[in-house]
Structure formats: structure tokens, C-alpha cells
């Protein structure tokens, strides 16, 4: 299955915020986590993550520091800021609404007739 470009783009921000809500992380590890969480279905060019991280940083949702990997390599770490936590909560609410709406519409045929049946 190949997930459409627009959907990937829309899901990228809440996913990255969510992963950083689990704790501080860095680019490569974030992508590993995305692929782990989606069973490898949700993918984009690795490099595209970085402009997204920089945008979130500019908006003040995340903060970055340069650190080192265990092997001594320079590495940029990101963590959620206070406004990022709020943005994440907001995104989460919005996606919950979308998810619920989709659930409803997919169970439509069965769902409505059952509901109607129950009411009568």
C-alpha cells in the first residue's frame, strides 16, 4: 500500500510532535520511530524531515541542541517546548475528530441501519 503524498504531509507534523512528546530525539531516530509505528507504511524521503524540524523550531514548538552520539559524532537533538506540547494536544484533538468522523462514515451503511433499527 502506498499512502498519498498529501496525507503523508498532513500526518508528518503530528507524528513528529508525538514522537518528541515521548522524549528528546534526533532526525535519524525520529524516522526509525515513524517507520516502526506505521509498520513501514508511512514513508517519505529521509531528508525532508529536516526542513520540517526546522519549521517546527521556527514556530517555537521544538528546541534544538547540538550533542554527540555514543560514537562521538555531532548530532542535533530536538525536544518539545511548552508551546509544542500545547500544539501537540491541539493536533491530537483535531485528529481525533477526523478519525472519529472517518470511522462513522465507514460504518455508515451498517451503522445507520443499526441505529435506526435501535430507535424504532
Amino acid at each position: 500500500m502506498r499512502i498519498g503524498k498529501d496525507l503523508v504531509a498532513a500526518a508528518a507534523t503530528p507524528l513528529v510532535l508525538g514522537i518528541l512528546a515521548e522524549g528528546e530525539s534526533y532526525g535519524y531516530a525520529i524516522l526509525q520511530r515513524v517507520s516502526e509505528l506505521s509498520g513501514g507504511e508511512l514513508q517519505w524521503s529521509d531528508g525532508m524531515l529536516y526542513p520540517l524540524l526546522h519549521r517546527l523550531e521556527r514556530l517555537g514548538h521544538i528546541e534544538s541542541t547540538w550533542g554527540e552520539s555514543p560514537s562521538g559524532r555531532r548530532r542535533k537533538h530536538y525536544r518539545l517546548s511548552a508551546s509544542g506540547t500545547a500544539a501537540f494536544a491541539e493536533q491530537r484533538k483535531q485528529w481525533a475528530v477526523v478519525g472519529e468522523a472517518l470511522q462513522h462514515v465507514w460504518h455508515d451503511g451498517r451503522g445507520t441501519s443499526l441505529a435506526l433499527g435501535g430507535a424504532w
Binding site: 535519524y28 525532508m48 529536516y50 526542513p51 521556527r58 555531532r74
Partner: protein, 461 residues
């Protein structure tokens, strides 16, 4: 040539070790103006992590390198994404992703030349109907903004291939300004007419920005691009004006040496048409010679910010010693307005030349001192103005100065507060940029009010 064409070919693969391949990839990546050095470092760290993981799962290093590079995405696509996020790094290159092509051709030179000539000719058109500079200087002074700036706006609209809606919006503003400036029955030697002209120039300059950003005026980042453009444009225009002054002086001198009087030609043709054309040519230069200016802007701001800070502090000190602001002459108060405008201009100019990702340093502290000093001066002037209005009653001039002062006061107060928080590390730099870019419409609104509403209120006097 892209990385994929060079670095991946068979011969190259045999010869290069992993580190050389990464170095080569780095150099291609770093070649893109939208991708800064730290970004390349970050991407390289990613690349090496990926290569480690792939070699651990059994791939040979060069195969792992190829897979990792492929997964990172094509350099063109990647640099385009970076350019979207970091437009300040290649702000003038609106054709994102083709930096080399854009650099080679003298972009828009012919458009600029044609429009500069058209602007010069356009300035002389009213002379066909007997309205010349010497017979009716008032007409030219009154219409200066609508005679000059449409050509600059047209330059942007042509260069950006703007859509009909953008063209119509910009044209509507210009037509409205022309109608107001010429239909209002301004009184001879009144104050509302010069006020309307100056504010029309400011308003139309901001409207020209709609052309510059190709209608995308809601975005704070492109507004900052236009602020940056304005600063560079002033630098180029002053340079051209200096050259034009030398040319005019020499023309006068050399023709009088052979017994001919060129003063009529210089005053009627060379200076007005030259200055009008220079408005468009300076705009073209800003867009074409970006890298030259990039070196000048930070130097100019570093040079003049300390000097202006000193001047403002000295001003405060002498005002405190003399404490007679309320009785100051009107001219004196107007010069204070100019000082405040230049200070805000300097602040905006250094802001547009700054890398938003750099952490706070000594220069930001200095700017805080400058803004705070300007704020104090603004308060002094405001008190003096209110005192004058209280004592002598309101006039168009006084209310226009008062309004401008209040607007600058709010701007400076916000700027000082954000700058303080930035220096103390509690706020990030883009917040400062946002404050200034979202303030632009307020200037436009105020200028429009002074142009359209002030004259009727003050009976065109």
C-alpha cells in the same frame, strides 16, 4: 551537474572510499544556497547513521552509501524544501531550485531598462499638455508618488508574472491615490497637501510590496523579504544618486566652460528623468547583485547601530539637562520624528540582514539599548506634542506627527520587550521578526488615513 550524475557512476565508485564519497556529497549539498553549513552537518550525521545501520545488516559500505543517499532524497528536491523553509538564504532567487541558471542570465535587465526609460518618458508626458516642471512644479510635487512608483510596481508584476487579481489590486491602489491627490481641492500652501503626498508615497511603497511578493502578502516571511529589499534598495539608490550628482555637476561645469548653459537641460531632463529611472534600476540591482549587498548590509548595520545609539543617548542626556521640550520649535519636533523613523529603519534593516538562527550576542544587547533609548526619546516627543496641542490646538501637521509617534511608540515598546526577552533567552528570534512584519499593515492604514481622511477633516488647508 547533480550528485547522481557524477558521484554514482561506475568509475567513481571504484575509486572513492566512503569518506571521500561523503565529502563529495557534502560539497554538492553545500553548493545550494538554501542549505546552510549546520544543515549539511545534520544531514551528514543522518547519512552516517543510516550507512552504519545498513552495513550492520550486511551491505557493503559503498552500497550502503548509495542506498542512504537515495533515501535522503534528490539534492534538488531537498534544497527546494530547505529553500521553502529558509527563504532568507536565497531571498531574491524566486526561481527556487535553479540557482545556477538564475545566476548566469542578467535576470530582468531588459525589463528594468525598458521600464526605467518609460518612467523617465512618463515623467515628461504632462509637458506635452503644457504642464512642465518650471511652469507647474506643484503638479509634479503632488503627483511624484503616482508618477514614479507605478513603474517599480510594474517591474515586479512583470518579473513575477503576477496574476490578474494581483495586478488589479495594485492598480486599484495607485488609481485611488492618483484620484485623491488630484481631485481634492487642496488650498495653496496648506499643510494637508504635503502631508498627503508624503503619506501617499509611503502607502504606495508598501502597496508596491504586494507586487514584490506577488500577491502573497499574508506571509510574514515574504514581508521580511520586502523589508530587506527596501533596505538594499535605499543603499543602491543613494549610490546611483551620488553618481548622478557628479554627472550633473560635471555637465554644468563642462558646458559652461565652452560657453553653453546646460542648467535648463540638467534641471528639466537629466535630474528628474534620471532619478525616476534610478528607482527601477536600483530595484533591478538589488535583485541581480544580491551577494554583493549581503556583505554590505551587516557591515552598515554594525557600523551605524552603535553610532545611532550614542546619538540617542546624548539626546536624552541633553533633554534631561535642558528639560524644555514643551517649548521646542515645531521644526525641532519634526526632526525627532525623522530620528525615530531612521532608528526603526535601522532596526528593521539589521533584522533583515540577521541570520534568525544565530543565538543572542553583544549586538542584540546593543540593539536593545538603541531601542530603549529611542523609546525614551519617543516618550519625550509625545509629551511635548500633547503639550503643544493642548496649548495651541490641533492642526493637521500636529495630528499627523502625533499619530506617527503613537504608532512608533507601540512598535518600539513591543520591539524593546521582545528584544529584552530574546537577549535573556526566553523568546526566539522569529518572534521579533513576526512583530515587525505584522506591524506593516498598520503603517499602510495610517498612511492611507492621512492621505484620504485628513484633507477633508481639515478643510484641505
Amino acid at each position: 551537474m547533480t550528485y547522481d550524475e557524477r558521484g554514482v557512476d561506475e568509475a567513481g565508485r571504484d575509486e572513492l572510499g566512503l569518506d571521500e564519497q561523503i565529502t563529495l556529497w557534502r560539497s554538492y549539498m553545500a553548493d545550494r544556497p538554501a542549505v546552510a553549513q549546520p544543515d549539511v552537518d545534520e544531514l551528514e550525521a543522518h547519512l552516517r547513521d543510516q550507512i552504519d545501520a545498513l552495513t550492520a545488516s550486511g551491505l557493503a559500505p559503498d552500497e550502503a552509501f548509495l542506498v542512504a543517499v537515495r533515501r535522503l532524497g534528490r539534492i534538488d528536491d531537498l534544497s527546494r524544501e530547505f529553500a521553502r523553509e529558509h527563504s532568507e538564504r536565497l531571498w531574491k532567487q524566486l526561481v527556487i531550485g535553479e540557482p545556477h541558471a538564475a545566476r548566469r542570465e542578467p535576470a530582468g535587465l531588459w525589463t528594468a531598462l525598458l521600464l526605467a526609460i518609460a518612467a523617465g518618458v512618463g515623467l515628461k508626458l504632462p509637458a506635452l499638455f503644457g504642464v512642465t516642471l518650471s511652469s507647474d512644479p506643484d503638479f509634479y510635487l503632488r503627483n511624484a508618488p503616482v508618477l514614479v512608483l507605478p513603474f517599480l510596481a510594474a517591474y515586479f508584476l512583470v518579473r513575477r508574472r503576477s496574476g490578474a487579481a494581483t495586478v488589479a489590486a495594485v492598480a486599484a491602489f495607485f488609481i485611488a491615490a492618483a484620484v485623491v491627490l488630484n481631485a481634492y481641492p487642496f488650498a495653496e500652501a496648506g499643510a494637508t497637501e504635503p502631508l498627503a503626498v508624503v503619506h501617499a508615497a509611503v502607502a504606495l511603497w508598501i502597496v508596491t510590496g504586494i507586487g514584490y511578493v506577488n500577491g502573497d502578502w499574508r506571509s510574514g516571511r515574504v514581508r521580511m523579504d520586502y523589508i530587506r529589499f527596501t533596505g538594499e534598495w535605499v543603499v543602491y539608490f543613494v549610490l546611483i544618486a551620488l553618481g548622478g550628482g557628479v554627472l550633473a555637476a560635471l555637465t554644468l561645469g563642462v558646458f559652461s566652460a565652452i560657453g553653453m548653459d546646460a542648467s535648463q537641460f540638467v534641471a528639466e531632463w537629466m535630474l528628474p528623468c534620471g532619478a525616476t529611472g534610478a528607482v527601477v534600476i536600483a530595484a533591478w540591482l538589488v535583485e541581480a547583485k544580491q551577494s554583493v549587498i549581503e556583505n554590505i548590509a551587516p557591515v552598515l548595520t554594525k557600523l551605524f547601530t552603535p553610532l545611532f545609539t550614542l546619538m540617542l543617548l546624548a539626546l536624552i542626556a541633553s533633554a534631561v539637562v535642558q528639560h524644555d521640550f514643551i517649548d521646542s520649535q515645531r521644526d525641532l519636533l519634526i526632526i525627532f520624528d525623522v530620528v525615530l523613523i531612521v532608528t526603526v529603519g535601522l532596526l528593521l534593516y539589521s533584522m533583515s540582514a540577521r541570520d534568525p538562527e544565530r543565538p543572542a550576542g553583544w549586538f542584540d544587547t546593543l540593539q536593545l539599548v538603541m531601542v530603549a533609548a529611542a523609546l525614551v526619546v519617543d516618550l519625550f516627543v509625545l509629551i511635548a506634542m500633547i503639550g503643544r496641542i493642548d496649548a495651541y490646538g490641533a492642526s493637521a501637521n500636529k495630528l499627523a506627527s502625533l499619530g506617527l509617534n503613537l504608532i512608533l511608540l507601540v512598535n518600539l515598546a513591543g520591539a524593546a520587550w521582545l528584544q529584552l526577552r530574546f537577549v535573556r533567552g526566553t523568546v526566539r528570534y522569529p518572534a521579533l521578526e513576526r512583530w515587525q512584519t505584522s506591524y506593516l499593515p498598520i503603517y499602510l492604514a495610517w498612511a492611507a488615513i492621512v492621505v484620504a481622511v485628513f484633507p477633508p477633516i481639515f478643510a484641505f488647508a
